[in-house]
């Protein structure tokens, strides 16, 4: 279980440009839950995701994963439990490295990277099997550099890479925003399957209301750094598209 307790994040403290991105947010993400986070631009969703991933530290508040306090751990330490898929498909993978090398790093997410050759026949077979589940034909292209693949393929592989070494939490930062409608649907389906099969605690940030309603077991809306709406699975299934869109017309 991931718990956020009174998390606050202020940028440019004391300057004229001071902005409170996240304001006293208390949130509990149950094990195996799939939470969808929506909100207008600047509402603090991405900051909240960054705070959980560890690329930014909160100014106040505690963050607990299980029993462990993690709010002061750097991102590369948290990555042993928390995986992340970025909005930009190019960020989640290393372009000049082969698919196989990218997966090697993902497989060693929890272990040190030592000076020994780890990419062998056994590993290649393991990756080929996993990649084959995507049904994109990429299992025959494992030696190709990531940079030669399309955005959708890279995003799908990034998703697959997150579950190479047993993480608990998966953060999805608008994973389909940069993709065409078909690739977007494919990537969201893959994410859904991975979350279900591996019983991950997932948090999805999205601007796509269709996605927000279709996926997940909980819906949260943020506004000016606060959680203003919170629906559980039952309440969420009763929502319709137009109603959710109307939440954004508050002017």
């Amino acid at each position: 279980m991931l718990q956020l307790q009174h998390i606050t994040k202020i940028f440019n403290t004391g300057k004229a440009t001071e902005v409170t991105a996240v304001q006293d947010v208390t949130l509990q993400l149950e094990d195996g839950s799939y939470t969808v986070l929506i909100g207008a631009n600047g509402s603090g969703k991405s900051t909240l995701l960054n705070l959980i991933a560890g690329t930014a530290y909160p100014d106040r508040g505690k963050m607990l994963l299980g029993a462990q306090e993690i709010q002061r751990l750097p991102d590369y330490r948290r990555s042993q439990w928390i995986a992340r898929v970025f909005q930009n498909p190019l960020t989640g993978t290393a372009a000049s490295l082969s698919i196989l090398d990218n997966f090697r790093m993902a497989a060693l997410r929890k272990s040190p990277k030592l000076a020994r050759l780890g990419v062998d026949g056994t590993f290649r077979k393991l990756v080929a099997e996993k990649v084959a589940t995507l049904e994109m034909g990429l299992e025959h292209k494992l030696a190709q550099p990531m940079g030669t693949l399309s955005g959708g393929q890279r995003q799908a592989l990034t998703l697959l890479m997150t579950v190479m070494a047993g993480v608990d939490v998966l953060l999805l930062d608008e994973p389909s925003a940069a993709l065409d409608p078909r690739s977007a649907r494919e990537v969201m389906e893959i994410a859904n399957r991975i979350i279900r099969d591996h019983k991950l605690t997932a948090l999805l940030v999205t601007h796509n209301i269709g996605e927000a309603l279709h996926y997940g077991t909980r819906l949260i809306q943020m506004e000016t750094g606060r959680v203003i709406r919170d629906f559980d699975a039952v309440a969420k299934s009763a929502l319709d598209h137009a109603e959710v869109v109307s939440w954004f017309d508050y002017y």
Partner: protein
């Protein structure tokens, strides 16, 4: 003919340096100017070591350690204080000038008469043959060691650090530490070259490192152009092409000198040559270097 043999020997002396620069410039994307200082540092430590009667291999080890330290300093300034890598390199390079001067105690020192690393095996009667043999041996060791290292898990993490920091941090790698390791390695290799060159030319001069990064860069770019042109993806052939680049580059310089270019214009010639090599792929429409 001997002139060109000397050029090849010189190119092989630069072998570790260009592999080091390939590491920092092409794999890490850091233009590391520390090179000018750590090259001289390698030579200076070698001079001090040999003149104090240390065995050549121990001296070489100490020289590489010195280079690694210098590279580590640059990386720490760059990552810890968030100073641009170029500036961090220039700072350390400038500081190293004084360090070198203090270590050497004077501005130059002849090394003739001391047992050097090239005489160690003494298989041949001619000095050049001995030197060539030892250098080829070194370059082969270098190739194997670096090929292994860059293909290992550690090496993949190193390469990923230069490629996409968010990606590799998300896989649990401390990129700051990786940059320190990477620049330390690259500068250890540079110092190795400085040590070899000092022993080959038989003297150490405090200014011998000036512009060395440009010579190395020329070689790396020749290698890199060929790597892109031939779409090389495996690490060992990549390193081979970079070594091919340094030999080509030194032969081009030798050719220029042989053709009557004034030796005083050597640095100018080097710069123009590098400029031509850098510019070539951009004007390579006819040669189709640009075709993707």
């Amino acid at each position: 003919m001997d002139f060109y043999v000397a050029a090849i020997i010189q190119a092989l002396c630069f072998g570790p340096l260009v592999i080091g620069l390939f590491l920092s410039m092409k794999i890490f994307n850091i233009p590391d100017i520390t090179t000018d200082g750590s090259y001289t540092l390698g030579a200076v430590i070698t001079a001090v070591g040999l003149s104090n009667g240390y065995p050549p291999l121990v001296t070489l080890f100490l020289a590489m350690l010195g280079g690694a330290f210098a590279g580590g300093c640059t990386a720490l300034i760059h990552t810890g204080l968030r100073i641009h890598a170029l500036l961090a390199g220039i700072l350390v390079m400038t500081a190293l000038y004084s360090v070198n001067l203090v270590l050497l105690g004077r501005s130059n020192l002849p090394l003739l008469g001391f047992a050097d690393i090239f005489a160690g095996l003494g298989l041949f009667t001619r000095t050049d043959d001995n030197t060539l043999f030892v250098l080829v041996l070194f370059v082969v060791i270098l190739l194997f060691a670096m090929s292994y290292l860059l293909r290992s898990d550690f090496g993949i993490a190193l390469r990923a650090t230069g490629d996409s920091e968010p990606m590799i941090r998300a896989q649990g790698v401390n990129t700051t530490r990786m940059k320190v390791y990477g620049l330390a390695m690259s500068n250890a290799l540079v110092a190795w070259s400085g040590s070899l060159m000092a022993q080959f030319q038989g003297f150490v001069d405090i200014n011998m490192g000036i512009g060395i990064v440009i010579s190395g860069l020329g070689a790396v770019i020749i290698g890199d152009t060929l790597i892109n042109f031939l779409k090389v993806r495996a690490i060992p052939p990549m390193l081979c092409w970079v070594l091919f680049g340094v030999i080509t580059f030194q032969l081009m310089l030798a050719l220029a000198l042989d053709a009557g270019v004034d030796a005083n214009l050597l640095k100018l010639t080097t710069s123009v040559l590098v400029l031509v090599i850098v510019a070539l792929p951009r004007f390579g429409g006819i040669l189709e270097f640009n075709r993707r």
